[in-house]
């Protein structure tokens, strides 16, 4: 029987992807492990590998096709002795991406999975309040892995009913096609003459940023805490360590210290190392700290796992390596999803102070400004010092003000006296 190759779900939030490139052509022989295609998802480009061997019978989705729904048949592999006409049948028998049909196809045939194992799906629970949905809608959503909180209900008082869930992939696709109708109630096009602007279609990363951050600001009660940190001691230590480690290729950035200090602060104030899960707080065992990395056309937050257990050099090397791969869009979802905290640093652009939007399911993010010479008062006297302002955005559902302040104070103490990071 011809083996259908399905659009893989590379992350728990992935609903569709772009078939960026075919790495095989019809008639090619493939063996298990051979790369078949490149898929561009929300945030990364992934390669799809074959798990069965055979001949590529038919490529059903053209290169560059956007918005290919997860589980749609994208190609057919023929087993030994089968000819191309068998592929035709598979192609025509699995046409439109009807959700029900997809599920069946997935059951019947072994889908080709991406080699990069999808990260253990964090249970997608609504980030906001209670979601009203019919029992049937809930069950269908659960079976199909659809996040109910992302669906608008059409039943009485906005209750989500069966048809809403069944239409969910379609709605998502439609919304994505037309500037996310559900997100923006203002039609920007209405305000400008058509000739006065260029229309740049949203890529999948931009769509994800728009959706997730809108959701974050709508659902998470943000509040902000700002503190100044004197950096002179840190800069001295950094200079010293960099000089000593130059031969070994060590080149620590201020940001590496910030990541380590944040990780240790989370360890010291574990009540602040949490995620809000509706009916519970998830208090994390490790300090997984995300670093916001600007990319062309968007940004991504790769995560340094267990940063509290890693030394500065290790953090530094890992951060560089992750950032480089992020810019090449080569991160796997496991490397940028989850995490318990993020650091966003705009100091290199001379920004003095800013606030950042929390990256769910995290409960806090630190916005780091530039370290700059400022007058400070020590023992009643004005002195020059290098000062950096950081602003912590907290999810008030999970972290109250005093707790956020404790976390920030711990961070400040590590930053201002780096030897304490050795303890």
């Amino acid at each position: 029987m011809p083996i259908p190759i399905l659009m893989p779900a590379l992350s728990p939030t992935m609903e569709e992807g772009t078939l960026a490139k075919w790495l095989v052509k019809e008639g090619d022989e493939v063996r298990s492990g051979d790369l078949i295609a490149e898929i561009e998802t929300d945030k990364a480009t992934m390669e799809v590998e074959a798990v069965d061997e055979g001949t590529v019978g038919k490529l059903l989705v053209a290169e560059g096709t956007e918005g290919v729904p997860v589980n749609e048949t994208i190609a057919v592999i023929l087993e030994e002795g089968e000819d191309a006409s068998a592929a035709e049948n598979v192609g025509s028998s699995t046409p439109a991406p009807k959700p029900a049909a997809q599920a069946e196809t997935a059951d019947q045939a072994k889908p080709v999975k991406a080699e990069a194992a999808p990260p253990k799906a964090a249970k997608s629970k609504p980030a906001g309040g209670r979601v009203f949905a019919s029992p049937l809608a809930k069950r269908i959503a659960k079976d199909k892995g659809i996040d109910l909180s992302a669906i608008t209900g059409s039943g009485p008082r906005g209750r989500i009913v069966k048809t809403d869930v069944e239409a969910a992939p379609k709605t998502a696709a439609r919304a994505a096609g037309k500037a996310q109708a559900s997100m923006s109630s203002i039609d920007a096009r209405a305000f400008y003459e058509a000739e006065t602007y260029d229309e740049i279609p949203l890529n999948s990363m931009r769509k994800t940023i728009a959706r997730r951050l809108t959701q974050s600001k709508q659902e998470i009660p943000h509040y902000y805490l700002t503190i100044d940190c004197v950096l002179d001691e840190l800069l001295k230590v950094r200079k010293h360590l960099n000089a000593e480690g130059a031969d070994a290729g060590v080149k620590l950035s201020v940001n590496d210290f910030i990541v380590r200090a944040a990780a240790l602060a989370l360890k010291k104030v574990p009540e602040a190392n949490v995620s809000f899960a509706d009916d519970a707080l998830l208090q994390h065992h490790h300090s997984d700290v995300g670093i916001a990395v600007a990319l062309e056309g968007g940004l991504i937050t790769p995560i340094i796992r267990r940063a509290d257990e890693k030394g500065l050099a290790e953090i530094s090397a890992e951060a560089k390596e992750l950032a480089a791969r992020a810019r090449d869009k080569k991160l796997s979802p496991a490397e940028f999803e989850g995490g318990s905290f993020s650091v966003s640093n705009l100091g290199m652009f001379g920004i003095k102070n800013f606030t950042a939007v929390i990256n769910p399911p995290q409960a806090a993010i630190m916005a780091v400004g530039a370290g700059e010479p400022r007058p400070i008062i020590v023992d009643g006297e004005v002195k020059a010092a290098t000062v950096m302002t950081v602003t912590l955005s907290c999810d008030h559902r999970a972290i109250d003000g005093a707790l956020g302040a404790q976390l920030l104070a711990a961070f400040k103490s590590y930053i201002e006296y780096p030897p304490s990071m050795l303890l």
Binding site: S134, P135, L136, A137, R139, I140, D143, S154, P156, V161, K162
Partner: protein, 465 residues
């Protein structure tokens, strides 16, 4: 005098029309109903209600016949056909009065006459040879339907009856030939059988109550036969000869020809929409095979002209018409939460003995639609209340989607099932799964416990069987 103008004018005051007008008025729209005959339409005057009154007489009569079973002694039991019909008419009259009161209370104008479309936003009302014109921003056509007639079977008011004559018999005939075994045919068959007529039912399809689940229709057929009803399925009346004493019918039963004599014939071969004389052609409203063509919002091919109820096609049920009336009125008023009607959530009831009721898909339909099904059954014989009532004959069947646990359909035959079906209808409307139905506490001792058991049975968990 300036012509009257309305936000909504409804043509026809049946359960679709009067409900649409009341709802429109509740929503602040100026509404009127145009009615050429009785307020309340067929349902109240010549359909649902008066037949229920007749069948109630039959039920009580039947129960008294069984008096000894219950330790009661009744002697000299007899009936007065005229009084039975009189009561039925009185009931219809009372309800028609009630609807007139409701319309008045809701400030809906009632305009007597034959209403027809007469130009954009205009309705011509003709009464007593005079015509007046009223204007309406929105028009709802709710003129209903009438019995379909087959050539050679045209009701003559004497030996060949439609539902209308069958409802007001001068006496109970000795023998009745019922043509068609849908709800209307079977209800009359049941009524006349109870009062002692020899009843033969001729059905073209291979089973009686053909829209019901096969198992239910087989169960009902068995019960009808036990009562002495003659059921001819896969059969067709090919010739009908009238004589002074009745008719001689030639019936083709699967290729074999039989003749049968009957005093009266009841033709119940379906209904056809009242699409004539309401100005459809002139206005450009499209029709198809006797019914007005509408979309899911009951919009016709002409803007601001809606059509609801029997006029637009099956299921020919009063509650479907009422629901559509409410939907259209709300849509006109701009209510945001209004949804098109989902036919799979409309229950159907037949008041024969035993009663039949259902909602959603039959087992066969569910399988045809590609569902992997789980089917539950619970017989009345396993229910304490049913046995206490002396109504141990019946069955409750449920059909679930095995994957999602959706209640796809429920099908019942037996005492009072027409009152029970709403439980499953609510379940379908709220999209419960088997889990919610299993978790629901059903009162003991009631017939409704069987609804619980049928669900449990579908998942191999029935307790009392």
């Amino acid at each position: 005098m300036a012509e009257k103008s309305y936000d909504v004018v409804v043509v026809g005051s049946g359960p679709g029309g009067y409900v649409a007008a009341i709802r429109a008025s509740q929503l602040g729209l100026k509404a009127a109903v145009v009615e050429r005959s009785e307020i309340g339409g067929i349902c109240l005057n010549w359909g649902c209600i008066p037949t229920k009154a007749l069948l109630r007489s039959a039920e009580i009569y039947h129960n008294i016949e069984r008096a000894e079973e219950f330790g009661l002694k009744v002697e000299g039991l007899s009936f007065d056909g005229t009084k039975i019909v009189e009561r039925s008419r009185a009931v219809a009259g009372q309800l028609s009065q009630g609807v007139q009161f409701l319309l008045k209370k809701n400030k809906v104008d009632v305009i007597v006459g034959n209403g027809s479309l007469s130009g954009k936003g205009k309705i011509k009302v003709e009464a007593d040879g005079k015509a007046t014109e009223i204007s309406a921003k929105n028009i709802i056509l709710a003129t209903g339907a009438r019995a379909r007639t087959l050539p050679g079977l045209e009701p003559d008011g004497d030996t060949i009856w439609s539902y209308r004559e069958a409802m007001v018999p001068k006496s109970i005939p000795k023998s009745v030939l019922v043509i068609g075994s849908g709800a209307i045919g079977i209800e009359f068959a049941s009524f006349y059988k109870t009062f002692g007529a020899d009843v033969t039912v001729v059905e073209l399809l291979d089973r009686v109550l053909p829209v019901e689940d096969e198992e239910i229709s087989a169960f009902a057929a068995k019960s009808f036969k036990k009562q002495g009803m003659n059921l001819l399925t896969g059969a067709k009346v090919t010739d009908l000869k009238k004589s002074k004493t009745g008719v001689t019918a030639t019936i083709d039963i699967g290729g074999k020809t039989e003749t049968l004599k009957a005093e009266k014939v009841i033709s119940a071969v379906g209904i056809t929409g009242n699409i004539e004389d309401i100005g459809l052609e002139k206005a450009g409203v499209k029709t198809d095979r006797g019914h007005v063509t509408v979309n899911e919002w009951c919009e016709t091919s002409v803007p601001n002209v809606y059509a609801i109820g029997d006029l637009v096609g099956p299921p020919w049920l009063a509650h479907k018409a009422s629901h559509e009336g409410v939907m259209v009125a709300e849509r006109i008023a701009g209510v945001k939460t209004v949804h098109p009607m989902d036919a799979s959530k409309i229950p159907g009831c037949t008041y024969c003995h035993p009663q039949v009721a259902s909602v959603g898909m039959t087992e066969a339909a569910a399988k045809d639609a590609g569902h992997d099904v789980k089917v539950g059954r619970f017989p009345f014989i396993g229910n304490g209340k049913a046995i206490a009532l002396g109504e141990a004959e019946g069955l409750i069947k449920t059909v679930f989607d095995a994957k999602t646990g959706e209640l796809l359909g429920a099908h019942m035959v037996g005492a009072e099932v027409t009152e029970l079906i709403q439980g499953y209808t609510i379940a379908r409307q709220l999209e419960t799964t088997e889990a919610d139905l299993m978790a629901t506490v059903f009162p003991h001792p009631t017939l409704s416990e069987m609804m619980h058991e049928s669900v449990l049975d579908a998942f191999g968990r029935a307790l009392h069987i």
